[in-house]
């Protein structure tokens, strides 16, 4: 269970204080597949950073399984991110000089999985996301966008996280491949009880989520503002 309570994030800039997220409250149950839509600069990526403990809120609280993240030290937060949260970044963000398999085992190293188990587990994950055997030893530069995104999802799953936070997971993909990725994420939520939060500007894609929110000027819009299929 991940709860965001009255989250607020402000940034200082030359022109004054910018409110990126204003009083956002979310309750994310296990197995929930939630979409957050919004235009560029609306604050959706900042909200994702707050949920994933990449940023500290100016005010408000993030509570994960009863633990308030603000009370965790730097090392505990790092461990929390490694073991409980899986990130799927915009543009894949795979390490270019590591193979697909090494990109996944890298996350396992940070999660503390014993060295001897990493390769086996990573192979299973890559197989599950549909990456062919001959593609697992390739570097990201020799994989297609869809294949790279599958590797990124496998990496996010490396430490069996409770939450997956995906930033524009279909942003660089054609619609067919994008649909395959969304299906993959839906399966994770539905069959494995993982909470999946997808940030996107594509309302058509967001419509496939169990529940949807729209970010507008840092505020989570009321459900009425979200397209019918996206309503919570």
């Amino acid at each position: 269970m991940l709860d965001a309570i009255a989250l607020r994030k402000e940034f200082k800039s030359a022109s004054g204080t910018v409110v990126a997220v204003a009083d956002a409250t979310l309750k994310l149950e296990p197995g929930a597949f939630v979409a957050i839509v919004g235009k560029s600069g609306s604050g959706k990526s900042t909200l994702l950073s707050l949920l994933g403990s990449l940023e500290t809120p100016t005010s408000g609280r993030v509570v994960a399984d009863g633990r308030e993240l603000a009370n965790l030290g730097t090392a505990e937060l790092t461990r929390y991110r490694a073991r409980h949260v899986g990130f799927v970044f915009q543009g894949y963000q795979l390490i270019p000089n590591l193979t697909a398999l090494e990109n996944v085992t890298l996350a396992m190293e940070f999660g503390g999985l014993p060295r001897r188990e990493r390769k086996k587990q990573a192979t299973m994950l890559l197989e599950w996301v549909g990456l062919e055997a001959d593609q697992r030893q390739r570097r990201p530069g020799r994989l297609s966008g869809g294949q790279q995104q599958r590797v990124a999802i496998a990496r996010a799953l490396a430490n069996k996280p409770k939450v997956i936070l995906a930033d524009e997971p279909t942003g660089n993909l054609d619609s067919a491949t994008g649909q395959l990725i969304i299906d993959l994420l839906r399966r994770l939520a539905k069959h494995y009880g993982i909470t999946v939060v997808v940030v996107t500007h594509d309302t058509k894609l967001a419509a496939q989520a169990d529940r949807g929110y729209e970010m507008r000027d840092g505020r989570l819009a009321p459900p009425s503002a979200v397209p019918a299929r996206v309503k919570p």
Binding site: T46, L48, S49, T78, R81, A82, F89, G91, I95, L106
Partner: protein
Amino acid sequence: MSAIARGAKNALRNPGRAMAVVVILGLSLALALSMAVARQAVDERIASAKGNVDSVLASLGNTLLVRPAGAGGFGGGGGIQVGRGGDAQQATLDQGNLTALSGLAHVASVTEALTVQVPTAQTSLKSAVNFTGRGGGGRGGGGGGTFTLPITAIGANDLAGLSNLGTGSFTVASGSAPGLMGSASEALVGQELATKNGLIVGSTFTLYGATVSVSGIAETSTANRFSANSLVLPLATLQGLANRTGEVSTAIVRVDSVANMATTQAAVASALGSSADVINLQEQASQSNAVANADSTLASLANVSGIALTSLIGALVASAVIVLLTMYMVVRERRREIGVLKALGSSNGKVVAQYTTEAVVLTGLSLVLGFALAVLFGNTVTHALVASNASGAGGGGGPGGGVFGGGGGLFGVSTQNINASLDPALVLLGLGVAFIVAILGSAVPAFAVAKVRPSEVLRGE
């Protein structure tokens, strides 16, 4: 794959850039190593030369030379030129003087010597030493032109202490020394003079019309050409041949202890009065051109050592700056990647370790190149450094300048033939220093790594 392994792999991620960095950093480290090698070689030479100077001065510590007043030094302006029919008769020490010397307190021994530069017409021997062009290096070097060094005949009642006459030392190499206390027509001949005249033990030559046989050949000091062109006879023999019966040009007085030098010197001066000059060899050496030359050469070498040290530090700082700039550029390029690592749960320490390893690997590869270049060119760099920054003694001294005349070569203080080599201790030191350079060079980039926020990866493309 651990952070260390990732760092090592990343070092060659961009082969072109890695090679450029390795070449530039390698050159910088090669310069640092060459300077370290040069400094070590020069410092060794300084230590050795100082030891020589101290040793020579110490050996002179308990010796007094007693000469007739105004006689001057051998080989200097007051050289003794005496022969049958010669015009000038040099003042000599008489038997009374010598008896007085032997009776003084603290006098351990007195060697009596008569030194004569033999006119060419008075011997069948040919001089073995010709100087052409400049004399020896150093401030005490002789003048230009061609100069034939006269053959020196030394009559002595003991070989000990003859080196203090300014002729260098004599060591019997073959045959034997003549019976110096007797009056036989025998001579110990300097090696170079013997070779020049085809003399071996048993050969004969003429001196002042008499036939003299060679009893032995002497090895002579290479720093002083006088001994090479000299021969030693019994004192009485030379006195007789040169018509100088009973005359002694120099008394070499050994004092029983350095501590008694001052009192003995005063006692000798008091006993002989104004009829003789008393020379404290150590004092004279300390004030001589040779010591001044040696000091000057040592100062030059110390200057070279200082330059090498400055260059060494400069090259190391330059190396650290190269590492710093390279790693700073790498960190800036991979800012997003660093954010990904942190977002995935890598600690700051692991990321810093990864980038520091990358710097260490690049530095290590550069060090291999640096070592290779230092081995190949270290000696050349040392010679160039010494040649362009050191002045002073080159070789042995030329004629002139008194007892200690000649260049700094008399003390073995020379800037020539300083050979540098990379020894294992320096290799280990190089490895250690390069490691520190890599750590220092990656310190600022590491700080930049630590400042990267993982949320940066979620910002736009």
